[in-house]
Symmetry: C2
Subunit: 210 residues, 2 copies
């Protein structure tokens, strides 16, 4: 493993999909697959699969192919699904609540350890086994617990200030559902954006233009 020079984000963004398909193959009892067969299933080229995998090392065997469950585990390890990152979620509205309950954090190497909201009425309630805390206590909590990731389900206008507070207590990775682009105001942070309305507009374009 690990000839990791600098892996391009295009490659990284394909890894979860490999991981998913390999999981399905593994569940179906398939133990061995060639790049050609996998390419066919995933609608990719065999070349791309081999190139992608070889960014990280030689996981295959010439003349044979790849061991499905072994490869899956390797990719999982690269993605960090075997780590246990501490995650906090901010904003327990519709979306935040749904994410807390719907996302299998464990499966992605995460663990939800805190939920914050500004609404005093829901303070103390539990969501997915985690208590909702007043967002006023955010810094206190983060200083003590040192979370790795913050999930942002907050309205656009408060998000920037929140990120400022979070970077202040050394939280530097964000799963951003807020209608706001963190990257333009902050450096040296890791952001994965899920801009749902952008996504819907892209779909809308597709509907009109096909």
């Amino acid at each position: 493993m690990s000839k990791q020079g600098n892996i391009s984000v295009s490659v990284i963004r394909r890894l979860p999909r490999y991981y998913r398909f390999l999981g399905e193959l593994s569940d179906a009892g398939i133990s061995k697959i060639s790049s050609r067969e996998l390419a066919e299933k995933m609608r990719l080229t065999a070349s791309q699969i081999r190139q992608d995998l070889n960014c990280f090392g030689g996981f295959g065997q010439q003349g044979y192919g790849y061991n499905v469950s072994e490869l899956r585990q390797e990719i999982g390890h690269i993605l960090g699904v075997d780590s246990r990152k501490k995650v906090i979620l901010i904003g327990a509205g519709n979306l935040g609540t749904a994410l807390a309950m719907h996302i299998d954090f464990e499966k992605s190497g995460c663990r939800l350890i805190g939920i914050f909201d500004s609404n005093k009425n829901i303070e103390g309630q539990e969501l997915a086994g985690v208590k909702i805390t007043d967002v006023a206590r955010l810094e206190q909590f983060c200083s003590a617990e040192q979370p790795d990731i913050a999930v942002l389900c907050t309205p656009k206008d408060v998000t920037k200030d929140l990120v400022k507070r979070l970077t202040g207590v050394n939280v530097r990775s964000f799963w951003n559902f807020s209608h706001y682009d963190i990257n333009v105001d902050f450096d040296d942070i890791v952001v994965e954006n899920v801009h749902l309305s952008d996504s819907l507009m892209i779909l809308s374009y597709g509907v009109n233009n096909t």
Copy 2:
């Protein structure tokens, strides 16, 4: 407008972000902007902005720049936010419920006209002003209403069958939140995937490797 040869998806996927930033500028009372200024705000190159916009036509004026609200409107029109696409949502669990309540469909040129679930206990309940219908009546409803888009918030194992039923009644555009890749089994459909667990894994990689 419309020198649209074939626009690359890279360009399309940037449009909602332009739309968003231009909206903010417009709200801030800024009426004119140059590609250089906009590039600085969005952390892009001026070149890219001009290239992107010129896929669709000459929206600027030499020596002056771009009219903010006019450009915003043009991009909105390209994305179809001024259309009124009929949307149905399938799967009123945590995520589906949250989306129905949280997403401003109107803003993206959509209109939620139906919600379906297999759970008889919630049948008849209302969500965002829309009644929940038994998924058994899906075909009947679609034949009558001809929705343009289906939002899929269903578990992975039932999604494929649902898509088959939906394409059968001529629904061919999908906003897919299900842990399943529609594209590999169906052709001639439009899909926008929101694979949340993939997204979280990509973030997890970023946390480990920066």
